[in-house]
């Protein structure tokens, strides 16, 4: 009898522990191979994990944990001694950034945006004049550490070195479009994690936001290259997993620009990829309404 009671108590305690503490588990690569173009020097090829696509481009209200349950809402803002709100550097469990009251442009005064040519478009047309942009055409999670593509006062730096300069309250990253053709999704995730680690080391107090990869138009997707929305969905699922492991914020900006079918509207980009100004502004609106404070 006593043994039975003890067993019941132990089972109950195990159940409570499972609810409040999720142990980290490494992502195991899937089986099979995918011939989708080559990443220089990589011999690996495997599929990555994939979440249902409807979670990748669904409106915010359909994202996991975005319902009205108070326990899923963002914690109260952390205030400085002067009373102004600062961004919490790390999520409290749920990494997906939920819809919030819109912040104004000043919220991005201490923001750093890291990315490829799409982020260059954000700099050009997004109206975030006081934010900092470290963006370069063709930038990948690999060349972020190896290519001196960022010009600061006439000197060239890699992104990893550039991010050590200055002080930022939040760092937004959007990479992956140029890596869609890599054989190894594991390498993509590994290099992305290394970039996050470098950002955290350089800016320990900054909140890190990983932005989902924006979709392409259906026309572009149907061309038959590795730049297609199915591949983008797969990569975004990997990014969400990564964010949960690394405890960085995941902001699904793709939902801010896609149409009902979850793709980029045909009039959004001349080449199906690079957003026209009107859609860049939609991207910014999504960022303004999905900000952690």
């Amino acid at each position: 009898m006593a043994v039975g009671i003890i067993l019941v108590v132990l089972l109950f305690l195990c159940g409570v522990a499972a609810v409040i503490w999720k142990p980290w588990e490494p992502q195991e690569p899937g089986s099979g191979s995918m011939a989708l173009g080559s990443e220089p020097g990589s011999a690996e090829s495997e599929t990555g994990s994939r979440l249902p696509t409807e979670s990748m481009h669904a409106p915010v209200s359909e994202l996991p944990g975005s319902g009205s349950d108070p326990s899923s809402e963002t914690s109260p803002p952390v205030l400085t001694s002067s009373g102004s709100a600062v961004t919490k550097p790390r999520p409290d469990g749920d990494v997906v950034v939920k819809e919030s009251p819109a912040v104004d442009t000043q919220y991005f005064d201490d923001a750093l945006f890291i990315g490829n040519s799409r982020t260059q478009g954000l700099e050009l047309y997004g109206g975030l004049r006081t934010a900092t942009f470290y963006a370069s055409k063709g930038l990948t999670v690999k060349t972020a550490a190896t290519k001196a593509a960022i010009d600061i006062d006439g000197e060239k730096y890699t992104v990893v070195d550039a991010v050590k300069k200055g002080s930022f309250g939040k760092v937004y990253i959007m990479l992956g479009l140029n890596e869609l053709g890599w054989n190894s999704t594991q390498t993509f995730v590994r290099d992305y994690e290394a970039l996050i680690d470098a950002v955290r080391a350089a800016q320990p107090d900054a909140a890190v936001y990983v932005q989902s990869i924006l979709p392409v138009t259906q026309t572009k997707s149907d061309e038959g290259s590795y730049v297609n929305n199915e591949r983008i969905d797969e990569f975004n699922a990997l990014l969400l997993d990564m964010c949960e492991r690394k405890q960085v914020y995941y902001v699904d900006v793709a939902a801010g620009v896609c149409d009902a079918a979850g793709v980029l509207p045909e009039d959004a980009a001349t080449d199906g990829v690079h957003l026209k100004p009107a859609y860049v502004k939609q991207w910014v609106e999504y960022l303004k309404t999905h900000a952690v404070q």
Binding site: S117, R118, Q120, G121, L124, Y125, R129, S136, K137, G138, A269, T270, D271, V273, H274, L275, K276, P277
Partner: protein, 156 residues
């Protein structure tokens, strides 16, 4: 007789020099209108959008104090197409702006060489004219139309 001839030749020389000076002084451009005119005259593949002065100086590394008037159109990034028309405050500033334009083109070539090699022909052979205080640039696949419009704007 000789004195009259010498005086006449001197007067003629002065007239020629004065007329030459007048010809240069007649080149007056409104940089913004010129950029708009080039936009209308040239065929572009991409959507072109004008950027504000701050972004212009960020892209080109120019100093606002060197610029009397300017307008820059850029593309979405899908292409390297671009229009830039500058009126400098003086000749020295024009030299600095011209250098900045050359640097911009060089950086664009480096960026697009591996990223989008199809853009290299237009970057390697842009319509680029420097005339006095004015620098006019048009990067497109329609150089002939761009040059025709630029020459027309400069009164050539």
């Amino acid at each position: 007789m000789k004195r009259r001839l010498a005086a006449g030749l001197a007067a003629l020389a002065i007239m020629v020099m004065a007329l030459a000076g007048c010809q240069e002084a007649q080149v007056q451009l409104d940089a913004a209108q010129a950029a708009d005119a080039i936009l209308s005259a040239v065929s572009f593949e991409d959507e072109m959008t004008a950027v504000d002065a701050d972004m212009r100086d960020t892209l080109y590394g120019t100093s606002a104090s060197d610029i009397a008037n300017a307008k820059v159109y850029v593309s979405t990034g899908a292409t390297a197409e671009e229009i830039a028309v500058f009126e400098a405050v003086d000749e020295a500033a024009a030299g600095r702006i011209a250098e900045a334009v050359d640097k911009r083109l060089e950086q664009q070539r480096l960026d697009y060489e591996d990223y989008a090699p199809a853009e290299m022909p237009k970057l390697n052979d842009p319509a680029l004219v420097k005339e006095g205080k004015y620098i006019l640039l048009c990067v497109s696949n329609d150089k002939a139309a761009a040059m025709q419009k630029i020459n027309e704007l400069l009164g050539k």
